[in-house]
Symmetry: C2
Subunit: 152 residues, 2 copies
């Protein structure tokens, strides 16, 4: 229910590479590999996760390269960043627009539940605060099913 198949990874990869090229970014082998990892990932990998996966094909890749590529992708709105102050940030390259997440506070599992859209609520907030709302973040924290089992 949680990490069901989303859109086709190959299609998403094509989309990302096309957008980067179109905006004048070079498509290096390392970059392509990072895009592929993001497109194929069902979870929400951290930079270190991505780097580890990358080392299988490109054993000399630097962590800095991953950070730089992620920054590009953020600038181009091709990846959604989930910030944490006490943990490494996590990234969603499949669905780069804001959407709710369920986050396990024990094991760090993150999944995308289906929920009604928040546009109405965002409009309400804009009306009441005078803000020009451009993005949002909705996280639910708790224990994932696996971690509940371990409680006995």
């Amino acid at each position: 229910m949680c990490d069901e198949a989303k859109r086709d990874p190959a299609e998403r990869l094509r989309q990302m590479t096309a957008r980067l090229k179109e905006r004048g970014h070079r498509l290096t082998p390392q970059r392509l590999a990072i895009l592929r990892i993001l497109a194929e990932s069902r979870g929400h990998p951290s930079v270190e996760d991505i780097h580890k996966a990358l080392l299988k094909d490109f054993p000399t890749t630097s962590l800095a390269t991953v950070y730089k590529t992620i920054t590009r992708l953020k600038d181009e709105n091709e990846v959604l960043e989930l910030e944490f102050s006490d943990l490494a940030n996590r990234y969603d390259g499949n669905t780069p627009t804001p959407h709710p997440h369920a986050i396990c506070t024990r094991c760090g599992a993150i999944c995308d539940p289906d929920t009604p859209p928040l546009e109405e609520l965002a409009k309400l907030v804009a009306d009441r605060t005078g803000f020009r709302i451009t993005s949002h973040r909705l996280d639910f924290y708790g224990l994932c099913p696996k971690c509940q089992e371990q409680d006995g």
Copy 2:
């Protein structure tokens, strides 16, 4: 509309001191001062903000003391932490239960809009993901009214 008066700061201070005492924490002058700053704050101060305010009455207070006190308050659920990976975390001592925020991405202003409660949505997410939901975070990002003016 955004930073309207909430509950009575003095009453909130009484509440916090009572809870800390009840749980066996000592009430030192520094701690009381931090509680007062949190209770009276209408914004969402960072640790550094709190420390700066504290120095007026206790010029030798260490930053570490503020961090330690905040940790206590988090453990006792008397303060709500808003985490940011690229900025200092911000704290709400007035309303320590999760509630939506509007956050200015330019100046960092944070305010508490009135919105319908999210309990139903949380229940829906719990049903669909199997998570045992214990907390949530709903942030809306955008430009506050002041920062919109500066755009011309």
